[in-house]
Amino acid sequence: MVNNLVEVRSLVVDRGGRRVLHGLDITIEQGSVTGLLGPSGCGKSTLMRSLVGVQQLTSGQVTIAGSEAGSAQLRNRIGYVTQAASVYDDLTVRENLSFFARVLGADGAAVDEAIATVDLAGQTDQVVGRLSGGQRSRVSLAVALLNTPDLLVLDEPTVGLDPVLRRDLWALFHRLAAAGAAVFVSSHVMDEADRCDRLLLMREGRIIADDTPAHIREKTDTQDIESAFLALVDADRSEDGSEEGSER
């Protein structure tokens, strides 16, 4: 039996009077890397915020390991990386990580380990504001690794990174998954799709495909995920195109 860590049931979220998520049903398994792919503005970040428990839900429910998302006992077990690097620009790399480690109750060894994992050992005493964009987002990622979380929610963690580093990070995500974590990564770059064990394709607040990358390509009879995405959108349009238009 598959072990679902996250269960999302009929999740509806409205933001600023606009429906962003249209009743999503999703499960996320432990021990695998699940990708959330879709164009920017399709609701990826809102879904991720819902999992972490910082998003007001309109209806539906999100449970993680049997508890409601955002409840107190989960806060130590989830690592969350927002799209913008959520770290303190005026502190050094080490000061940032030491602070978050104290909040999480993690020890000094965890700090060193997290810094090494994101390959910033050479920058530990540099002020974060002076680092490059890619380095800053790696500091933000390191914070999420401090408490070896059961669920890692990563909102576009590889944007703007060097391809070598990007490959290394995906290898890291798979190592974390192999160690038992559920890794949930979003991206708007379709070529990252094949690095995921399982893929959720999202468009305009709906999940249009939920399968392994290979199965999605097979079903749509396409060579790559970008074409598969287009094929799915076209098929969807011909079915209920008029309804889509009226809702926007």
Binding site: G16, V54, Q55, G70, F99, R102, V103, G105
Partner: protein
């Protein structure tokens, strides 16, 4: 509330301040410079006007400065996403607010020690009551400023707006606190309003300390200032939401 987390926040805020040399210098040196300016202004006027205005200014500095610094820094936490991240962690709202209050309370203690030492030691401010209590009142004022700043930052969307809250929340308190017109001589309505404003009690406490050796009224005023600070922190906690729209 978890002391470990509260102290982590306080220490982090102080480290950030230490990094920002210019802000740190302004926090500590500016009150001293302004006190000296006030003393200088009254040099050619007979009487002891410095003794009359000095205490009120000692009450105001920590309040105004901490109000501004806190409202801008917390707003930065909200907009940079660090607040959202912290609230997704095992961070209590009171840990966050308390950490800020402790950090800025420490800064205020140093600031007050410098300003009081300068005023009493060099500028000849006559203090009848215990000098140490002047410092305690100054710290209470700073915590009050911090608490109000935290509260107000919840209603500001940009740093511009946060700074604009100063004329709204602070200047009326300065006008009505008894510095320009003794509170008892204010029109009835304004007197009633001034009795609802915390800075009035902070100024009263400072003025009582300077003019009399009895400390009973000072403790009462101090209690009122502290109550305002706690109430603002509680309201501030209510405005911090883990889940946002």
């Amino acid at each position: 509330m978890t002391p470990r987390i509260l102290l982590a926040v306080a220490q982090r805020v102080l480290t950030q301040l230490r990094r920002d040399h210019r802000t740190a210098a302004m926090l500590l040196v500016l009150p001293c410079v302004l006190m000296t300016l006030l003393w200088w202004m009254f040099q050619d006027i007979p009487g002891s006007l410095f003794d009359r205005f000095g205490p009120a200014l000692l009450a105001m500095f920590p309040f105004i400065v901490m109000f501004l610094v806190t409202s801008v820094t917390t707003l930065r936490e909200r907009s940079s996403g660090t607040l959202e991240r912290l609230l997704a962690m095992p961070m209590g709202k009171l840990d966050f607010l308390g950490g800020y209050a402790v950090a800025f309370g420490v800064v205020a203690a140093v600031q007050a020690a410098l300003a009081v030492a300068l005023s009493v030691g060099l500028l000849g401010l006559d203090v009848e009551g215990p000098v140490l209590l002047l410092g305690v009142v100054a710290v209470a004022d700073a915590v009050l400023g911090t608490a109000l700043g935290l509260l107000v930052s919840a209603f500001a969307r940009t740093e511009f707006q946060a700074v604009q809250f100063m004329p709204l929340f602070v200047i009326p308190q300065i006008l009505l606190c008894g510095l320009f017109v003794p509170r008892t001589s204010l029109p009835d309505f304004l007197h009633a309003v001034s009795s609802l404003l915390p800075l009035s009690y902070a100024t009263d406490a400072m003025q009582t300390l300077v003019t009399t050796a009895a400390t009973g009224d000072v403790w009462r005023d101090l209690g009122i200032v502290a109550a305002f600070a706690v109430a603002s922190l509680a309201l501030g906690a209510a405005t911090l939401r883990r889940r946002t729209p």
